[in-house]
């Protein structure tokens, strides 16, 4: 590496030890080795305190009061929307809908867009790598719309078989709904190619960015996706808040999916007219403090640098793959050509739940089970796996602690 490149790397590199100090959970749980950020990430003090400060200083309902406090609260809420727009590089903040999380975002697309535009025989194409949240909503509206759910398979390496994916696209495909980064294995999908192919066949494309958004720079305009969804709590923000991004041209054609206050223009008992997006899709008092907490989290992530985070995740993933591959009796669940931030392991002769209990004794917090991806587990021939997932506060010592605990568990169950 050249001197300049080295300097650039040094400037970019995250300092997980310093970052850890921003997260009070580590003060309150000495020795905690937290490797479950893919399930939900920990929260920096900036988010925790920022939400509390908002309640202390600027809180009132939004879009309703004429008094100054309400105007301030509305400004903060709409300011959070602008922060999300910037984070995704959306063309307009009108393309950002606040929802409870990615699950609600996908359901919103299914019930509003899907119920309106999908006709019997139309196809929704997903992959074997999906989380249940990107399978079940399509099944739920299948009976009502007559849509056909088509599944693109894995290749032998555990990644998406792009040729098989392409072969399943046709003029009947109306929507491609795929994850950018598989939550159960860490497999990265070739999202640019997927989007290009979907559009070539006239299909809309929904990208589940739950695992990718916390780890990679995201530019929805460059990607040219039609829908992008992610959850706040996986990107160091509060629970109960998430984002649906959709292109304006599409959002404008979508009917409301929930009715109530805040989403209407005029209501009479004869007829109600609705607000324009995004407010059309935010019925009732929204999660105001959640949106503000999310914006603080996104600012925190931006301040660290998204390229730096991606480089950190990449480097630590590489270290983890290398370390775990050397352990006898432990198999990394295949994740295709490129894996990021997630290390799913199968330990010979040890059930994932027994493993996770023993790891917990070593203060190593991991997820055990099917990771809400049962079809993928079935395909891989596994009842479940033990999954370590990385965040900005993790470093090589956490991986070492994981390896030590895995070895201890193997010894116990040998």
């Amino acid at each position: 590496m050249s001197r300049a490149a080295l300097q650039a790397t040094a400037k970019l590199a995250l300092d997980p030890a310093r970052i850890k100090r921003d997260f009070p959970v580590f003060d309150n749980n000495p020795g905690l080795v937290f490797l479950d950020s893919a399930a939900s990430a920990q929260k920096p003090a900036a988010v925790i305190d920022g939400v509390a400060d908002f309640y202390r200083t600027d809180y009132a309902n939004v879009h309703r009061g004429v008094y100054r406090l309400s105007a301030r609260s509305s400004d903060r809420y709409e300011g959070a929307r602008e922060t999300v727009r910037r984070f995704l590089n959306a063309a307009s903040s009108d393309e950002i809908v606040f929802v409870r999380g990615a699950t609600e975002a996908i359901n919103l697309v299914a019930y509003s867009w899907g119920m309106t535009f999908l006709k019997p025989g139309d196809e929704v194409l997903v992959t074997e790598l999906e989380h249940h949240a990107n399978i079940v909503p399509w099944q739920l509206i299948r009976e009502r719309t007559g849509l056909k759910l088509v599944v693109a398979p894995l290749d032998a390496s555990g990644g998406l078989d792009l040729a098989a994916f392409e072969a399943r696209l046709s003029s009947r495909t109306k929507l491609v709904a795929v994850t950018q980064l598989a939550n159960a294995t860490g497999a990265m999908l070739p999202i640019e190619a997927i989007i290009r192919l979907a559009h070539k066949h006239g299909a809309k494309i929904l990208v589940d960015g739950c695992q990718a958004a916390p780890r990679l720079p995201v530019d929805v305009q460059a990607m040219d996706c039609d829908f992008y969804v992610f959850s706040g709590h996986k990107i160091y923000g509060p629970t109960g808040i998430g984002v649906l991004y959709a292109k304006s041209a599409i959002l404008e054609t979508m009917p409301p999916w929930q009715g109530g206050g805040d989403m209407i223009e005029q209501v009479t008992f004869e007829k109600t007219t609705f607000q324009k997006p995004p407010h059309r899709f935010e019925a009732g008092t929204p999660d105001i403090s959640g949106a503000i907490g999310l914006a603080i989290a996104l600012d925190y992530v931006e301040a660290l640098g998204r390229d730096a985070i991606a480089a950190h995740e990449e480097e630590l993933t590489g270290y983890g793959v290398d370390k775990l591959s050397r352990l006898p009796g432990i198999r990394l669940v295949p994740a295709g050509q490129r894996r990021l931030g997630i290390l799913s392991v199968d330990v010979q002769g040890v059930h994932p739940h027994d493993l996770a209990t023993v790891l917990d004794q070593h203060h190593v917090a991991v997820r055990a089970g099917h990771h809400c991806a049962q079809p993928l587990m079935d395909r891989l021939g596994l009842a479940g796996t033990t999954r370590a997932s990385l965040g900005i506060y993790n470093d090589a010592r956490d991986i070492d602690a994981l390896a030590t605990a895995l070895t201890a568990a193997q010894k116990l169950f040998a």
Partner: protein
């Protein structure tokens, strides 16, 4: 709590080498148990002779706790009357959930003693369901008869 307090030798032994781990050819009753949290599945087979458990077995896949619990259950319940089996289940359930155990007949004290190594799950609320899966399936099998179509899904304790 140390992992060894949960994973005592008897648990590890029954987890590795479960007893009565087979399907029963002449089952009069059976039921499937499923823990949706972890995907564990167990089928419990019973051969009843009047109100007595003449034979009892299980198969499926599960963690060390659920396998050991199923294995110990088959050993303990074999030969018992249904009333005794019911009393043991109640006693066992109370032990693993940390509730006060009901008074049991003296004749069952040795059997409760045999199940005692499983009491360690008390300290692990998420693992209690592992220990009770086969027992719930046993109860369901009594209701099902030989038709195991109605699967018992273990509920959160």
């Amino acid at each position: 709590m140390d992992a060894r307090e949960l994973y005592q030798d008897i648990i590890l032994d029954h987890g590795r080498h479960p007893r009565n781990f087979r399907a029963l050819d002449h089952a009069t009753n059976l039921a499937h148990g499923h823990n949706p949290l972890c995907g564990d599945r167990v089928t419990v087979y019973l051969e009843l002779d009047g109100d007595r458990v003449k034979d009892l077995s299980f198969d499926g896949r599960g963690c060390a706790i659920s396998t050991a619990s199923a294995s110990l259950m088959t050993e303990v319940l074999k030969g018992k009357t249904l009333a005794e089996a019911e009393a043991l289940f109640k006693g066992f359930h109370a032990e693993v959930t940390g509730k006060t155990a009901p008074a049991l007949p003296d004749a069952l004290a040795d059997d409760m003693e045999r199940l005692a190594p499983l009491e360690g799950v008390r300290a692990y609320p998420t693992r209690v369901k592992c220990a009770t899966l086969a027992w719930h399936a046993f109860e369901a099998a009594l209701k099902n008869g030989a038709d195991g179509a109605a699967a018992a899904t273990v509920k959160t304790e």
